[in-house]
């Protein structure tokens, strides 16, 4: 396969290079924003787990120049104009004063996080670690968000995703699970878009006693109006010309063998973002013949090499030893 093969198989990879984004994930935030209008009236925005910085790029290009954008990551990040980049651990209590200081001690309008851990391949473990990373981002967000503020984070739609949905609903008016078209259909990733931060009265955010561990989630002040299957009536995102099937109360009780009443679970509404006319991240596309200047199209190099994988040295050593690894079984 040639250099342009990835360009064919991944249009967003090609577009990211052509439009100057540090990573293809920039399109995910752009498509989330076009659906939820996240950036309207947002002037103080925090980007967590920001490296290599494509979401910060989106923020700096989209928000008005007077906005304050603070990006945090444990890894060093190439500076971006109009973005304050901090190298800090989002779980550490000392990060909060640092962050608040750069926000001018004003609460933030929006906190976003595209962070994901190195994955092992054990689904339950990877999903748990991802949910803990999300909770860490949420804990920091609760400390800096203004009432009514928003929170967007990557989530793995696995076995226990409904637990995370239920937790987020304790703190926000509206929680939606969104999947941008630029996120591959074969990937377990999606995003939670939480709008209208409204912690129950008496809730005190703290990094010393974070939510989820030791500190339980506050009971939401909202009433319970559970319909069939314990779901609230919410706006469903149906496509045009399709009716919602009437869901009859089940005669026999829905619960099967596994009635796991250990934790509250809730399925939030789902929305697919991005127009169908946009590129499909699962499709293969023919490459354009000419570029924007009418010149013969050529595969471009990435704007910035992706964050070096941890096994980069290992790959180099392997190459020096010769051979491409053990033979195929």
């Amino acid at each position: 396969m040639g250099k342009s093969s990835k360009d064919k198989r991944d249009s967003y990879y090609r577009l990211a290079k052509e439009q100057g984004w540090r990573a293809r994930s920039a399109f995910k935030l752009l498509q989330l924003n076009s659906q939820f209008n996240l950036f309207a009236d947002a002037t103080r925005v925090v980007d967590l787990c920001a490296a290599p910085g494509s979401w910060s790029q989106v923020l700096s290009r989209t928000l008005p120049p007077t906005s304050t954008i603070v990006s945090l990551d444990l890894q060093p990040m190439t500076p971006l104009p109009g973005v304050i980049t901090l190298q800090a651990d989002i779980t550490h209590p000392s990060t909060l004063p640092l962050l608040l200081q750069h926000l001018g001690n004003e609460p933030a309008d929006l906190v976003v996080s595209d962070g994901a851990p190195d994955v092992t391949g054990l689904h339950d473990l990877d999903e748990y670690i991802q949910s803990q990373l999300l909770l860490a981002a949420l804990n920091l967000a609760t400390c800096v968000l203004k009432p009514g503020g928003g929170f967007v984070a990557k989530i793995f739609r696995g076995r226990d995703v409904a637990v995370v949905f239920a937790q987020l609903r304790c703190l926000f008016d509206r929680v939606t699970c969104a999947k941008p078209r630029s996120s591959r259909g074969s990937s377990i990733e999606a995003f939670v878009v939480c709008e209208g931060y409204s912690p129950p009265t008496g809730f005190k955010p703290s990094l010393e006693a974070p939510l989820g561990l030791g500190t339980k989630f506050p009971e939401s002040g909202r009433g319970v109006s559970a319909g069939p299957n314990g779901r609230d009536k919410e706006e469903e995102h149906l496509v045009d010309g399709v009716r919602e099937a009437e869901l009859r109360e089940t005669e026999g009780g829905e619960d099967g063998d596994h009635d796991d009443a250990q934790e509250a679970r809730y399925i939030v509404p789902f929305i697919a973002c991005g127009d169908l006319s946009e590129f499909d991240s699962d499709a293969t596309y023919a490459l354009p013949e000419v570029d924007e200047f009418g010149q013969k199209w050529k595969s471009k190099d990435p704007i910035q090499p992706p964050t070096a994988p941890p096994y980069k040295t290992a790959l180099e050593m392997r190459r020096q030893l010769g051979g491409g690894g053990p033979p195929k079984s």
């Binding site: 259909g185 339980k216 469903e236 089940t250 619960d255 796991d260 789902f270 499709a283 293969t284």
Partner: protein, 1061 residues
Amino acid sequence: MTGQMNAVLPPHALAKQRAGVGRMTSGKLEDPVQTRVSSEKNSSIAVEKEILRVPRYTELSCTVGLYPCRAPSDELSPSFSPKVRCLHISNLSPVTALAFQTAQDIPSSKLLVGEGPFVKVLDVATSKSILKRRIFSRERIHGITPSSSDQRNVLFWGGRSVCIATVTSLSREECVPREIRVPDWVFYAVFVPSTTSASDEVVVITAHNVLLKYDNSSASWHELASGERCMLYSAHLLYVAADALNPQNRVLVAAGTVFGEILLWSAAIIPSSPGICGLTNPKTHYRLLGHEGSIFGVNISPKFHGDKCYLASCSDDRTIRIWDISQFESSPSIPDGIEIKKTGFGHELAQGATYRLHSGKHIWSFALDFERGLLATGGADGKIGLVHYRDDQESREEAWGMDSVLTQIGNSREESDEPNHRVKKAHDVFKEYAALDNDRFAATTTLGRVLTYTLSQKRWDILGQWAGLNGWSILATWGDSGLIVLGDQYGQVGVLDTVSKQEWWWRSMAGENGKVAGVFLGRVGTGALSPTIFSLHSFKMDHSKSPSVLIDRETLPLQSPARAGETKFLVTSLAIGQQTNHLFLGSRTGALGIYDLSSTVRPLCALSHTLVHPTDAITTILPLKSGILTTSRNGEYSHLSISPPPSIRLTKTHTQKPSLVIEGAKGLDNLTLWGFRGKNFTIINQPSQHEVHSVDCGGAHRSWAHRLNKYFVWTKAGKAHLAHTYPRRKLLQSGLHGREIKSIATHGDLIATGAEDTLLHLSTLSPSSGQLCPGAVVGTHTTGIHALQFTPSGQYLFSAGGAGELLAWRVRSANEIALGGTCEGWSDLRVEGFDLLPIEGEGGGGEGGVLLAIGYSDSTIRFYHFSTNTGTFNLVMKGAYKTCCILHIKFLPSNDGILVAGTDGYLSIYPLSDPLSPTSLPLPLPLPPKSIEKRVHQSSIKALKVAAGANGIYVYTGGDDCAFGVTRIDTKNGVAESWIVPRAHASAVTAVLCVGRHILTAGVDQQVKLWKVNEGEEGITVEMRERHESAVADISAAEIVGAKVVIVGVGVDVWETSDGL
């Protein structure tokens, strides 16, 4: 509602609900026994039901899980409840936990195996499964720790649960494993001696680096100590008993963080006075820096080697590091790092012992039995491997230079007879080897010596030295006969008795003086000896006399099977069929010649000459009950059926390519293959797909001989090398795919699965146990297999996936599969969905061909006509859907069109006037315009089932948008109506099945739901009838096999269904 629940739910389920509610209402920990007792009283269910409904309250502090009843989904009798329509009956999971259970009074050890939420006990000696039991309601078992003080006690842990059990109690139905919930993920758990009672207590390390101790009396967790605040990806605990230096019992913690640091810290287990947690000050010993990625594994050496103690770690940076932590006691807390003992990339550290027992990527678990020298491994493929690792260390290779051999046989002054000092001193080297029996092999040398070596006596002997073998010799043996056959440079053939040292020589072919090119042996007493002109030599040995006498010698000239103009037929293998009296010769270019030995024609002419293994040598021919098995250096082995004469026709009924330059094969039922792979001589067991042995010999181009399960002898750098190949590894349990299964197709009880490990597995489903019985495995695909389908007759199977690959397979049984054709492919494209229609052959009999409709990732749709006679694919129609990736294509039940679904959420129909009449057109037809286009889902349609109904065609769909859809299509009037159940699952809905009158859906959220779909005047209404949880992660598809539902993903779940309502 309450009354209904009472009526329908089995009593145990109610009890469980109540127990759960008890936990929720109190928000505190209750004595589980009390809860159970109270739950059995007829308390008010209505109140509890209300509380169950509260969806927004999350209690994450301390919860204790409780399963007062036998986990109900496992192995239930059908009489359990007539209303239950979906019962879990078997499961195949990655093996994520292993532990040996050894007791001094038991000669053979037992192995405890964690597979999903189940524990299995295997007898190591017999590989038999003794019992299987569900331990957790839904968590996967990630670790098993037997108690060091009392071997009967075992600690299971995984996810956010632990369970303490005894092996004897596991086998007793009435003993219910008690699941204890933990507030955080557990990375390791150990028993520690109790500070207050005689029984052991449990200490766990959590994902947030906190040590928790379980207090039995209060049934709650207490924080023992909290390490530095960080998120972990792995941890290990070692209990360190008090000694002279340290008056307190301690727990040593190795914590691997997500950010690449390893923290070594300890906490004293302080006796806690009642009601007060023994919170201790943790002491940090080391912060180990150096890894560049998340720490995926840490392990503290179980024993002090001398006075040494080590810590091993592995990371996403793909290095393994060994750290010397012997001084952790005395050293003051060191802020940064210590010297790394050793860093390596797998093989560097392994010192020559590498075992390949698993397929796919991951080995998730291992266990060591130091006393017996056993290593057990558990893979993502569900296999369990066992290695006698100590034998490997003891059996070193032996190697001899020719000088040392000649010294030993007392013949070192080889040039003394011919003192010609002007000629450069000729140096003898090893030429050919042949295995005589389990204890002896023979060798020839370039100076014409014939030697034998006896393994047990470590002794070389010389049989003699022949001028005719000087510079050229061919050597072969009939195993265990003590006879060797030699071919010399003058065309002479000799039979030599290595015991009596008698020899018989004769000319290979009258009038031929060239070198003997090869000697290939059939059954004892018959030999074929071959220059380029062949002759078959038959003789008998008379053993009644001493020494034995060779009698009845006959030479049969053979005419080469190759005709004029064809490549020369250079013989590389021979076999004689006992029953048919056929002689089979394999050639260097992969051709097979067949002779009838009962024919009287001289020279004997070949009945048949067929290219079997294109372009590379046939190395073995084994006669089967019917037909033969051939192996080839081209990497293939095949089963060939042979039609009787006169018109002999060969049919490949089975072909596999196990990525090995195959040199030999043995054992028809349990086929073992050997040959070369890279620099190694490798022996593999084909049915279980594992490497039995591997010797680094330098590569294929050398002289060698092999005695299965005994030894391998070869030449390397002028020396003769010998390695023992006793089987030191085996599989205790076979498995399936090593990576996510992406597709499944069924025909009768035959199941085909395709996965990201690029393999295609055939299995059968046992009707009684619901277990998968493994059949053939083929690895022809180069990327993941995403779509599979059988023809209605089951004779052909088609598989497709990445790189646009689509292959046709001729399937005869679960063990017989041969490639029937390859469709053109495109490296940039993927095939996610296709469908097929059989086309009747000439005269209406059988499948003359197959019409395939294939959807590609670039939105093109191609129709191919596959000819079963020629194995070729002909493009008959081509068009583009849109620009999105196509995920499904189905021929409509009425055969008058195709249904297409993709990542855009639309269902579209292309009408086809007569899809059954493919004509050999010069150009493919264009795709007709769509007749129906209906958007149902917001994004990808992940699963789709089509059923014909009274009011049209019903399409049941599962979407990436978490929704379950029902679409009714009236093809005649071009009308489609859709109804959607939004939020049917918490994740993408990836499997949809029609189960009787119900629809089953399953998703990545591991939920399996059974829906009743009713059609009224108002449209479609839906009831969710049942909800279950599957132990299979990343569910990708489901199929029906008889009355069973097979769900695939990371593993396989089998459910028994009955349409009770």
